[in-house]
Every structure is written in C-alpha cells, then in structure tokens.
C-alpha cells in the first residue's frame, strides 16, 4: 500500500502555485481587462456556485458526458474482447478503426449537430462513438496480455464462453478498464464540452462560448475553472477506485 508521499504532494502543490503566480503576473503585465487575475476569476466562480447558477449547466454537460462515456465503455469493451478473441472480427474492423483514429473531431461534431440535430441523444451518441475506439484498442491490447496458459487451463476444464467472459476476461480487465475509464472520461468530458462550444445550446461549454461572445473573459475563465475542477474530482475518484477495487 502507498503511504502518503509528502515530497510528491509538495511538488504537485508547488506546480499549481507556480501556475497561479504566472497567471497573476501575466494578468498584471498585460491588462486586467484583457486577462483577469486569478482571484477575480475564482471570485466569479464562487458566485456561480453559491448562487446555484453553476449547477444546471454542470448537470447538463455531466449528464451527456456520463451517458456517452457509458455507451463508449460498453461498446469499446465489447469490441476489445471480440477483437482479441476473433481474428476475423479484428481483420474486419481494422480499417474502420484506423479511420476513426484520424477523423478530425470538429468535423464529426458539425456532422452530428447539423445533420442529426441538436438533441441530447445526438451528443451522447457522438461521445460514445469517439470514446469507443480509444477504449476498444486499449482493451484489445490488454487482452493480449491475457496469458495463453490460462486459456489452455480453461480449455482443459471445459469452461464455456459466458463463464469465460464473466469469470475470466472481465475480472482480468478490471485494472485496464479503470485506466481506460480515466482516459475515456476525460475524452468524453472534452467532446461534450466542445459540442457545446460549437453549437449545442446549453451546458458549461455553451457558457464558455457565451463568455467569449460577449467578451467577458472573467466569466469565461470562471466556467473553465468549473470544467477543470470536475475533471480533477473525477480523476481522483477513479484513482481511489483503482486502489480499492484492485485487491490483487
């Protein structure tokens, strides 16, 4: 078990302090109206939270993010296991996977929002679609570490497919799933956020875009801070989960 690492914690705190100092310095040098200082931004953030204004947009973005994330994780894990088990499936989906790695995200966002309309479902499917290949390749590669020896053992004890998936593959995949989940959540959060900047009419991203449109950088940065904090909290939660659930 990891004891509390003081030097690591100090280094992490130090870096945040340095960033804040740089920010404050930049604000003072440039012009307070153009780039507001950290304390102003955090003040606005505080107002947003205390007045309750922060929560509706937060809920909207978070809701779509989680739904899309879940969709992507399920599809991606399914793909990863299937691709690891079946050569044919892997070959069939190879080009599709390659294409997904190189498709510009912005174009996907426009495609979905304009052609399929600005509904929650569109964003959820979009997020799921973007997350799936990332999770899929990760899980597929993780399955590659699944020892042939264990497969042989399962053969000799005549273990059926369902038991293999629930008793062997899924437990084996818990650590890589948690790791993939962290990456997937970050990605899902970003894509949902981006779709709000580029057209979807509510959520945190939309607030940021509005801040830019009315040239209220302070407001923009306050909403951005909220975006970052949620990400931070999610990361920490997943790190904790990783530590708790992986007993082996």
């Amino acid at each position: 078990m990891l004891r509390f690492d003081t030097s690591a914690a100090l280094a992490q705190i130090a870096s945040v302090v340095v960033l804040l100092v740089v920010w404050a310095a930049a604000a003072i040098i440039v012009d307070m109206r153009a780039l507001p200082a950290p304390w102003l931004v955090f003040g606005t953030l505080g107002d947003l939270i205390l007045s309750g204004q922060a929560f509706v947009p937060l809920g909207e973005t978070l809701g779509r993010t989680l739904a899309g994330f879940a969709l992507g994780m399920v599809l991606g894990t399914g793909y990863g296991i299937a691709a690891a088990l079946s050569r044919t499936f892997r070959e069939l989906t190879l080009w599709l996977l390659q294409i997904s790695i190189f498709t510009p995200t912005l174009i996907l966002i426009f495609l979905f929002l304009i052609s399929l309309g600005r509904s929650n479902l569109t964003v959820i499917v979009l997020v799921g679609l973007v997350v799936m290949p990332v999770v899929g390749t990760y899980i597929r590669d993780a399955m590659g570490d699944f020892e042939d020896e264990l497969t042989e053992m399962a053969d000799s004890f005549k273990i059926g497919l369902r038991e293999r998936v629930t008793g062997m593959y899924l437990p084996f995949l818990v650590p890589p799933l948690l790791a993939a989940g962290r990456v997937a959540f970050t990605l899902a959060w970003k894509v949902a956020f981006l779709s709000e900047i580029f057209g979807f009419p509510n959520g945190i991203g939309w607030q940021v875009k509005t801040g830019y449109d009315i040239y209220n950088i302070q407001l923009l940065l306050a909403w951005l801070m909220l975006f970052i904090f949620v990400l931070l909290i999610a990361e920490q939660l997943m790190r904790l989960a990783q530590r708790r659930f992986v007993k082996w």
Binding site: E152, S156, E163, P171, W248
Partner: protein
Amino acid sequence: MIPKVSLDNIDLSFPDASRPDGRKVIYEDFSLQIEKGSFTVLLGPSGCGKSTLLNIINGLLKPNNARGIVIDGTDLRSEPDLSRQMAYVFQGPRLLRWKTLAENAEFGLRGLGVQPREKWRDLIDKYFRAVGLGDAQHLYPHQVSGGMRQRASIVRAWVNEPQILLMDEPFSHLDEITAAEMRRILTNLWTSEEERRTIVFVTHDISEAAQLATDIIMLTPAPSRICLRRKVDLPWPRRMDSDEVIAVEKELRHAFAERAGIGF
C-alpha cells in the same frame, strides 16, 4: 483386464519448414496402454512429446491418425464427453489471480460439470484440508507461496473426483525441498483413497519417477518410441534415499543412457 487408457497406432506430426519433408514426426504408429488405478509415469527428455500425449488422451489435441483412443473400453472420438472424467494439472499453477483458491477450484467444477452443485462446498473443503490448505483456501494466490499455489491447482483437479488425472511436470518449477513435500502430499492423497484414481504423470526427472510410479514408461526423443516399461512394486511411503528406490533409479539411468538415444 481392460486398460484404463489405450492409445492404438497413433500418428502425430507437425508442419516444420526446417525439415526436408516439411514435417516433424512426433509419433508414428505409436501405441500405449495405461492400467486402471495405476500411477503411470511417462519419463523422457523435453521435446519428446510427453505433454502432447496427455492432450491426446483428453481430446484437446487430435492426432493425424489413430486406430483407437480408448478410455475404459469406449473410443473418445465417439464419446467426447468422456474427457470430462479427466482433470489436468499443469506445470505452473495457472490460477486466476482475482479468485481465491477455493473459488478457483469452483471454477473448474463449474466447467467440467461432473459434480452436483450441492456437493461442491464439501468437496472443496475436503480436498483443501487433505493437502493442508484448509484455512488458506480463502486466500488469494498472491497471498500464498508457490508450493501452496501448486497444491491448490492439484485440488482444483481433484475436487472433480476424476477417473483420470493428467499431470504435466507439476513439480518441475519448484525447488527441491518444496517438490519433495509436494510428492509426499500427492502420494498420501492418492493412496488414501479406497479406489485409486488413474494418474498419468509426465516428468523428465528420473528420481521423481522412481519415487512416485507404479508403472514407468520411458520414451525416446521424437519420433517417440517406448524404450522401457517397468513396474515398480514398492509400497508407500517411499523414501528417496531408500535402497530400493535408488536401485530403481539406477536401473532407469542405465536404460536412459542406453536406449533413450542420448549420447554419452
């Protein structure tokens, strides 16, 4: 008496580009009988196909040709489910690290499906106690020693109360002290049962063969032939330093040098 296992005229070869005829022959017109209730040791150097023989017996590997793969009088090929009457113990423990030792045993029970579910708990408990892991059965593999893990893998096989146990060099990765302990536990377990199970045990260790076997079959390197069959009629427990066991060993070493195709 009907032998427990009878392999009749087996041919097995693999494609091998490095050879002139493109194939490496492991077995050609090979036959083998294993008696019911015996502890038959297949002895031979690595690479002579001893492990593949085990896989032919349990049906996971199909030979190119075979006149018969007969278990207890019935050909395996006409009754594939006969393979559920056999349990395998590997060289490494091959335990699932996210399951406790007991859960690993249950995993095997579920797969082979020859024991009724109501009996599982009792079977698991009985056999873990028999090998000295009564309390440790609820631990995870990483919490126990290598020897204990291998014991657990033996229990996983044994809880199915199989007719035939196929054991593939199960102690070759253990240190000498742990291995000696394991042999003692294995023979104790085997001799404690009224109706002894048929064990087919593969090893390259001559001393181990002398300590464990009722029947020894020595194989040459591929293409494999039987170069020696010997019954070992010594009682258990056997001491590896007793005169009788050492005499058997000496005979085996002599045969090894002469017939197993090793140049000295």
